[in-house]
Symmetry: D3
Subunit: 158 residues, 6 copies
């Protein structure tokens, strides 16, 4: 049985993240969506809010679960005996960062393999930080995030 973890800040998740989750859930037997929490970073949505959003967005997928990780991702995966770390890549810039991260994770634990999937072209433009800025200007983000995220963003920036 092949388990994979899909970690991210998801602050907030975009339609691109959902696209990766749906495609990954069709490949792997089990997919764990990992909401990463780093006390040194600032988030718009709290860890609890982000976990709750991800749970609502994946509720119809039997083989997808959601967990919070506030430690090192390789330690987190070891404890759960998950050997595959899945990452979505929107283009060259993303990959440059991910490439280095994957090598560092392998340096920490060589049993954990990082696999990359590329975002579908229509979602290439969706970056959480840009969507937050857009929402802060009350721009129309309805084609960029799931409806419940759009509502949550509106509530934050009202």
């Amino acid at each position: 049985m092949l388990k994979a973890a899909f970690p991210g800040s998801f602050d907030p998740p975009t339609l691109g993240h959902i696209n990766i989750i749906q495609r990954a859930a069709a490949i792997f037997d089990e997919l764990l969506v990992v909401v990463a929490e780093n006390r040194r970073k600032k988030y718009l949505f709290s860890a609890e809010e982000r976990v709750s959003i991800m749970q609502k967005l994946t509720v119809d997928r039997d083989n997808v679960t959601v967990a919070l990780c506030d430690s090192l991702i390789v330690d987190f995966l070891q404890k759960r005996e998950i050997g595959i770390l899945l990452r979505g890549v929107r283009g060259l810039d993303d990959f440059s960062y991910e490439f280095e991260l994957s090598m560092m994770n392998r340096a920490l634990d060589s049993r954990i393999e990082t696999l990359f999937m590329t975002t579908d072209p229509k979602y290439i433009v969706l970056r959480s930080s840009a969507i937050k800025e857009l929402a802060s200007f009350h721009g129309n983000i309805s084609n960029m995030v799931p409806p419940l995220v759009a509502e949550a963003l509106e509530a934050k920036y009202r």
Copy 2:
């Protein structure tokens, strides 16, 4: 009549920005230099200072005007019925960011087209943030910015 907008932070403008403005003013019937103000960002020069600097730097160009934008740029352009958003690109790094931005702006309003011009090679090195750092160390920036900007930077870092 072809109108184009050239938005930027211009905090402060460099000789590279002036180069783009001069070349763009020769192409388009009207060029609107748009000083972007985002309340979430920190600037060295206030919005008013930046507008004033840009007005002084373009005073000899009849078809160039300057405006302030503190909302979403696509909304700003719609209201003024400007369909062309012009961006200067200094190289691959700039383009990577601009490419994504242009796609997001088209997702927001497909009638607004982004056109890119490349900076002349001799201005490739000029980045506002690096020039500010240089000025803070009292480095010689006289070949990087117009004289009035050099004076304004000196005043800030005295």
Copy 3:
């Protein structure tokens, strides 16, 4: 009156090229599609075939014309008094090449400005060379090129 030229090999044109032409024809008063012919390069379609294809694909656009160029593009534009060279860019790789080309063209004639437009995300994947390889394997290219190009490719690889 603002005239722009859109040069390319168009061997063959893709839906991405057509997308750029339609958007550019809406911006500029006149758009000249320039079929580039370089005797040192090998093409699948002859210069005459490529000009004929481009004429058929742009026949419904009043302000679009097609011409053949087998000399230096800057000389070609000078003679026709066209000051804008328009290029479509599909992403970073394209831009890297185009950036250099635009600087070289400006070194040859500083009055000719290159403007770049980015391809819509759904056409990012369309590269003429890859489509030819696909067609040679009888892959389904109907969503990648206009119908008459699909037929022309099938005829070539039958």
Copy 4:
């Protein structure tokens, strides 16, 4: 049961390819190494030689098999009911090409997912074309390819 295909020219395979195969064989239930043959390309080793080399190099892996593909890879995978196309990526340049290829393959058959693994840092330098050039100059390639490939290259360039 999760099957993946790992296609490549393998002309010849490097230690980097072998590294990807070993790591992939540990993840997936079955791994099909696909030797790609394109009649329009020139190879140093014939398709038969490349298949034979890959078979010898993977003989100790029970869940790895080798096949030849001279048609479109998506058609090849459909017939074998393999939904995962695995690609090794050595860095940004590789990824740029692979990113586009993966999007084109998804445009051809949206059920086939491309997953990327990154080459271990010590193999980043290994590119088949560079190794062939090195071998043609009788350079020392013993740390770059498996011993049987080193011998095969020596035989070719004697």
Copy 5:
């Protein structure tokens, strides 16, 4: 006699930095390791700590000395009559930034030449900021930094 300076934040130094220093010390007659201090930036280790660490790490190299620079690097080099600025590059992202920096430094003083060395592949993954994050999570960094740096990081994050 050829003198070179190797500037950096070294906050903290990694095995990659040490690798560059060792290789550079074998090439140049004298190597000055320059600890850069910018009052506008935040460091984990103070300037004094970083100078002390670099001195301990280079104590066995006769032709390597360490100095602190809190002014413009080109002014610093002029005063010491050092004409070569050496930079280590881990890959494309580093180079993109360094390329611009080197051109700006030449614009400031054309007599100062920047030379680049590439980090050995096994150190490509080592970035000071990532190592600090890792240390903050109590990850195993013993293969990434010299022992005294590992201890210093542990002390900081205890």
Copy 6:
């Protein structure tokens, strides 16, 4: 005494190459310009022509000599006891290729260090292949190559 080698095809040399040679000759005690000849590649100018051109272009530099290399560059440098391989880099694309090449050369002989210098911005645009194409169209290349190269190109394409 610090010796460096500057290898290249120089088919033909551009003002960018000359710029690197002049700056390098001011740094190193001796500079050996190495004209690379690879029997598998096609050149416009023969090895003898390229050596002769480079000799004429460097005749006024006492510490610059020219040699032909038709073997592996690391073997060539070993025999001459030259430990520094100097490469000029015009930007990210060049560097990507050079980065890999430098790592491969270190894999072949770890005593040979590659150092990179960046081309001055005004020469960034100069690529030998593009200049040849330009010359073939009788474009004006007088600002791109030394006068004797311009004449040699004209003679070739007459």
